[in-house]
Subunit: 431 residues, 2 copies
Amino acid sequence: MANTSATQEVADYLLASKRCEILGLDHLLHMGRLVAAVSDLVHALQQERGLSNLHVASRGERAGERLARRVEETRDREQAFRERLAELDTQRLCSPGFVRLFARIAYALHGLDELRAVRREIRGLKLSPEAIIEGYSELVRGLLAVVFEAADAAADPDISRVLVAMFHLMQGKELAGQERAVGAAGFARGGFDEPLSGRLQQLIDHQERCFQIFMEFADSRSLDAWRGAISREAMTTLERFRRIAFASVQEGQAEQSLCDDWFELTTARINAIKEVEDRLEVALTELCARKLEDARADLDKHRIELDTLVEQPGPGSFAIFYDPPADAPPVEETYDAGCASPRLGRSLIDLVQSQSLRLHEMGEQLREAQAALEERKSIEKAKGLIMTHRDMTEDEAYRFMRKLAMTQNKKLVDVARATIDLADMFKGVGR
Amino acid sequence: MANTSATQEVADYLLASKRCEILGLDHLLHMGRLVAAVSDLVHALQQERGLSNLHVASRGERAGERLARRVEETRDREQAFRERLAELDTQRLCSPGFVRLFARIAYALHGLDELRAVRREIRGLKLSPEAIIEGYSELVRGLLAVVFEAADAAADPDISRVLVAMFHLMQGKELAGQERAVGAAGFARGGFDEPLSGRLQQLIDHQERCFQIFMEFADSRSLDAWRGAISREAMTTLERFRRIAFASVQEGQAEQSLCDDWFELTTARINAIKEVEDRLEVALTELCARKLEDARADLDKHRIELDTLVEQPGPGSFAIFYDPPADAPPVEETYDAGCASPRLGRSLIDLVQSQSLRLHEMGEQLREAQAALEERKSIEKAKGLIMTHRDMTEDEAYRFMRKLAMTQNKKLVDVARATIDLADMFKGVGR
């Protein structure tokens, strides 16, 4: 009897392990919905940013009505985002990834709270276009950070892959939006100077890295959607506009009339990227639902198997660990006469081993998917170092690095890595 | 009012983030107690293994009474281990690390369940000494795997460091126990052959790597305990015995009378290591308790700060993200007349930023501590590959690798890495 109850304990822990996994997958299903809401909200904010900018730059003469309508739509998206948030069970979740996730959500919510006052100031034409762009961009950055933490905290490698693809697609789209703004500014003033063309180049490079990572991790149907969405003709036209922009630095001017075409072209591109996001979102939801179903079926199967095993306990033996030496009698013969076969032990071991082997493989695959997030983590770390050493805010530190990258004609991540190496070196000197 | 309630939401997520951290630390405090119970249980099992071996090898003539007493003590330790387990809240915990942890606990519990039948067989002299050693060692390996997962799942870098030190100290002690058995076998039969001396060399190398990692991660007081426990004289004597063992391969013999001295010397060493474990355990408990206290004080502080801030809300602004261009009026002047200073926004941002910066630094330090666990993970992965490709059980695969390492005179981890590289290469060919 004591033996049976002890074996029950083994079964309980195996089932607890499986239930843990299910709870994690259920959480990912909710996170998937939250990410979809973030995707919609970011898209609305990106459009509101463009219209606000136009409205303020024209001293209130243009886009007033469209802006008012857009603000209503953004509010709906914000409402949907808050509803998805309310579904997350903050009491049940407790792991390092979620600690960061909640801090990111707090930061994003704070940005949304501030938006109300900012909109009043925009209506009163009290903010500069630069302040508007920086402000909305920071809010978008805060929302993307929520997606980043969701990707980083995901425990399932397949779902993690889709979330990594999603984060980089959203990040690339935001950079495409910033490229639209920088390009529009350059064409509007009839040409690009060195700083503006430098910023443009940086946005193009960073975008391409993001889309590469997206392509590396996306499922095949989302990849098809990506290839279908961005036609070769549209890309050729975009490249031609970019070439004109860079050429204008030497030539001293670009046709101002190109501004509207540029805006239209890049807007169509951004909307096409949003459609790929939606497609990826469907893939994410389907994947989460399928995984959850599989895990639940697995749990039921385990439960039945374990019930059968626990009902027919036989005293176990170390036989399973034991290669008999050549001169020893076969292990089976050494059993007490009253003993059943070591079926229970064997089956439990099989269950535990297949469970732990699977978990181990998942861990490996997970690390591979998460390696794609390392680049961003380097940037975050360097930012932290700069914040500490130069007593800057997060945003100041980010812009400091961006400026360094631009003047040194380097990638942001290379500047970040150099910063970290330097700090490590000095730490060594200080010892 | 709407603004206040929205700000309340920001505060809620910040507090949820902090509560998450506290729940994690509280769990680590429990895990610390569980690890202490594992340390005691493993020590008892190691002694029971030695006495069982002696009892069976002497055909029941020696150590019968001492073994019976030792079994009682092991049962007490097992009971304590099960009580600590019962304190773990399997319902509250849900993260990838815990999925593995629970599977490991199930495996260890199953091994303990089997122990009852094994003891009957030992009393009936029905198991060979080799089977006894392999069986107990597998059980100890299962228990150490619980400590490994605890170290791997710990979210606090300082606590993770102590757990990494603890795992490697316990692992080193187990290897010292195996060295005792191998040495005793060699001296008892009057000399070491090639396989036995090869195994001895491997155990010495592996032990040293474990103790190096322990020294790298242990706190200073545990290091003092380590230096005090293993006196220079004892180490010199141990090295002399080891030299005699290796020399006997060429010379063909070693004094049989050395066997008892060897056993006494290595037993004293193992007991000394256990004392260091106990010291490290105290450090772990103190650290967990202190961290938990700090985090709770932090939560209270945050709560008061946030209450004050939420009670005096002022509409925020993007000013904090915004470097005014040189020709723009100071930002403050652009505020609506009725607005308070952006103190709320500023303070919330400070809170969120300090929280997220701290979490980021913790993540970095955590990865450093966990890198020490990578070696073992490589071995686990290689084992999994061998299990799949050669259709072996976990234990067979482990012994297969160990044999490979011995015949090729390589470290186990090098064999593991070579196995993984080979598998990756073949995967490439198959594409």
